[in-house]
């Protein structure tokens, strides 16, 4: 299990999330609009959950299965993660 990162910058989280999403979408990361809904980027519910699993492993958090729906853009997911990490 990776160590939870001590201090995380919003840009770092957003960049990392974008890279994972780009990997699942099989598209270059620079094409992804972090403000666009994940569903409109083409990320279906199967990959949305896989993305949640990646987040949990990297940041040592447990996300609700619906996190990617409750926070449906990369920006919103970033903000949600930051808040969760600050709560500890």
């Amino acid at each position: 299990m990776p160590e939870p990162t001590a201090r995380v910058e919003p840009d770092e989280i957003r960049r990392w999330l974008s890279e994972r999403a780009a990997y699942y979408l099989e598209r270059p990361v620079e094409e992804l609009d972090p403000g666009a809904p994940l569903a409109e980027l083409g990320l279906d519910s199967v990959y949305a959950l896989t993305l949640c699993g990646d987040v949990e492993d990297r940041y040592g958090l447990v996300l609700e299965p619906s996190a990617a729906w409750d926070h449906p853009t990369l920006d919103a997911l970033t903000a949600h993660l930051l808040a969760a990490l600050e709560r500890g």
């Binding site: 699942y24 980027l41 083409g42």
Partner: protein
Amino acid sequence: MGATEEVQGGPAGAGFRSFADGFRATAEEQPERVAVRFCTAEREEAVTYGALEATARAVGRWIGGRCAPGERVLLSLSPGTGFAKAFLGCLYAGVLPVPVPARGTYARQEARIAAIAADCGAALVLDDDLVESAQLPADGGGGTPAAVAPRTVAFLQYTSGSTDDPKGVMVSHGALVHNIRLLARNQGWHSGMTWCSWLPAHHDMGLIAMLLAPLHLGGTVVLMSPTDFLKRPVSWLRLIDRYGAEVSCAPDFAYDLCARKLGEEQTADLDLSRWRQALNGAEPIDPATLARFAERFESAGFRREALTPGYGLAEATLCVSSAAVDEPPDVRLFDAAGLAGGVLRPPGPDAATVPLVGCGAARGLDVRIVGPDSGRERPEGTIGEVWVRGGSVALGYWRRPEETARVFEAVTAAGEGGFLRTGDLGARVGGELFVTGRLKEMISVRGRNLYPQDIERELRSLEPAFHGLPSAAFGVPVGAREEIVVVQEVRARDLGDEGPEALARRARAALSARLGVRVGGVVLVRLGQVRRTTSGKVQRTLMRTLFRAGTPQAFHAVLDPELRTVLAPVRQPR
């Protein structure tokens, strides 16, 4: 053809050995054997046959104190060992278990559970807390399973049709045991084996193949939650490895997910050499998935022979046919023009081909290929609707006599009755069943039969802007004819200077040329507009309904004037 081999243990009157009888025999003979093991990242829970039997008796008494025999009880349980306890408890009490998803994750699931509860007139909903409290008075005594006959309804399996119109398949005790025996014989399943599954227990494949079969046969099943699988697909393969499971089933998308998305570093120490049967069913099987999975995990010891494609449906309890074990999957190239004409034949020189996956020979069931309108049986190699008769076929749909008569009591032109109409199209080639698509989704244009998945694949290959994005092809009736319509997702940024109109016109012309028939309409929509199920299946019938209502937010639609006459106007926001 047509001869039904009697599967041992099938409905046989007085000597009938029910599902629960098989389970109790193991509980008496090997009470210490693990029946169900549930694993999460943090914990494991193992329940032996002896403990499961005692718990089932307690739960059965608890239910019996609250429900009359024959009443329906929803099982709305989180992944774990609770489902097996509750399901068996229902059989002990003589009530009908109705598996549904656990509550509370998504609004859409809540609506589905409510619709099922109303449809079956549920007397009780068993959730995790209730099952927990119901098993407390485990003081032994009393409580053997209610006596059953082969034609007694064992449980209701709600099909994954539309949310607001759920249909409950009445699976009889005879059909359940017949199908388990059929699977056991086809696959060589026995009591010494270990199964491993992440499939939800309210799904027919998860319930029959991966939970009830091992419990009836005296095997051990290792379970994990569907969410854990989707979050970390590698955890499924690790669990198979850790417990040396020989059997694990999943729909095609799960194999695709693992083959595409697992990094080498995640799978370096994985050993899949003991996984003998990787059954693939419940949705159309993509030959490319089989090849990709076998290649990707060869280094982990996975053998191509383990891939076992199968075909079935809840109306036949689960399995109709499955490929031979310990043989590589039978992927054959057929002539594309032949397929469009309703025949599976080897391709001519330089002819376009379509790969299809063989789903084995049907053994133990009477399977016919029949003209859907004529009822006439079709010869080897000719495509028709798959009809099934025999011990595994369910009794019908709960309280829907008309649909039951139409679907479960079909009669061939030769006057042979009692067939289940599957709604699936396929043909027999060399005794093996090849499924080609859904009858409802096939598009007939000027004497040619076109399958939506083939049209969608052609369209994707035409324009770089379509690459990797979903589309839905369907037929729209215009008078007595049917017109092809395709809804294709595109990214706004890929529309470039030429704009959506030029792209749609070009795509329509090129697709018509490629298919050799006129395409009535091409609709370009934003990402996310082509509806898919949670497992990624394109919902074509739904898309047709949305299209006719003018619902998709289109960038642009090029449509025949005749098509426009049968539609509500398609909105074009910009």
